[in-house]
Amino acid sequence: MTNEEVKSIIESLLFVVGDEGIDLKRLVEAISVEEALVVESINELQTEYADRERGFQIVYLGGSYQLTTNSKNAPYIEKMVEDPKNHSISQAALETLAIIAYKQPITRVEVEEIRGVKTDKPLQTLMSKLLIKEVGRAEKTGRAILYGTTREFLFHFGLSTIEDLPPLPDGQDKGEDDEADLFFEKFQEIPE
């Protein structure tokens, strides 16, 4: 494998792993080349990005390599993120809202378990927009606050009751099951 190929693969892998980063061992395993070649390629990429002032940089944090944005461009990121016109409600807040809507009553910790990330900020946002509210305290787990949706929520999404929510998309595949079901249903429909 050429050095350029290794560099290309490293870029792809770093891109996909996102904020988690990836350690050298996993990189080496995934690419199946000498560790030295991986290290050398990372160094070359770092130099290239720096020399050509690219939008990315590779940092080594807590034992893993991570692709991040060039800090020089932070003001533009801020500008994009802040623009209220385009950002009525953040993706994080929407995710959180979906979880609460379907699993209410639910605690912050439970929401965080599902999302896999901290959720204080989105909860605050949703509270301030009156889409969710405290609906009680959890018996166990130190009487943590339980959240639920509000009338405002129903109103905004045009629902008469919470039961009107469509079934949750499951992203994970039920595809195969569906197919099997479909097959059976198809052949069961006709009474003998």
């Binding site: 802040e82 409600i89 993706q91 999404f157």
Partner: protein
Amino acid sequence: MNHYNVKVDAFEGPLDLLLHLINKYEVDIYDIPVSQITDQYLTYIHTMQELELDIASEYLVMAATLLAIKSKTLLPQREEELFEEEHDLEDDPREELVQRLVEYRKYKEAADELKKKESSRSLLYTRPPADVTEYTSEDSNTSIGDVTLYDMLAAFQKMSRRVKEKKPKRTTIKTEEIPIEDRMNEIKQQLRGGGRKRFTDLFTEHEKGPMIVTFLAILELMKTRELSCEQEGNFGEIMIFESERKAME
């Protein structure tokens, strides 16, 4: 029956089955030999019945349609029609069916195209949006905007995909790698010197892999008569301990 090789589940309905027959017998979709195709179609239906599969009503309706067309084509044509070819063509009893088949075939082909698109798309990996909380100050008085239910569900779906994506494959492989021998030794160690343990307490980990390994290790130790187990009554707690033979060694 073998030579029919019927794969009913491979058909998406009567039109699909008909298209299959048309391809299989290499006949012209615009000039379907109705007798032949009807016979083949009925053979499939009968085979499905022999296989004791219930047949969806649509298949039977199609069978009836085919028979009706067949009988029409067999009727002697009236004299005057013989000299009006155009009129004759329009009146072809197959016409409507042909149109349906051609229309259906278009979308079947389009579905194949979509599938190709899907598979080339599946080679492109993206990443979830970066955490931008450090850049934001989500203003409490901004309105929620025209976010719809669909947007909320889409956000949820992306999240579940992301959460799944984060699971590195490596962990799965790693859990499979626990050698049963190691687990057997651990269990023996725990029970050495006449100790008794509840069966359930041996399952310290709640992941599938380790649980299976533990279970297999216990079975193996019982087979080699190094461990015994006892249960008082149905659904009682199962107790595991060193077998006497072993304890006497």
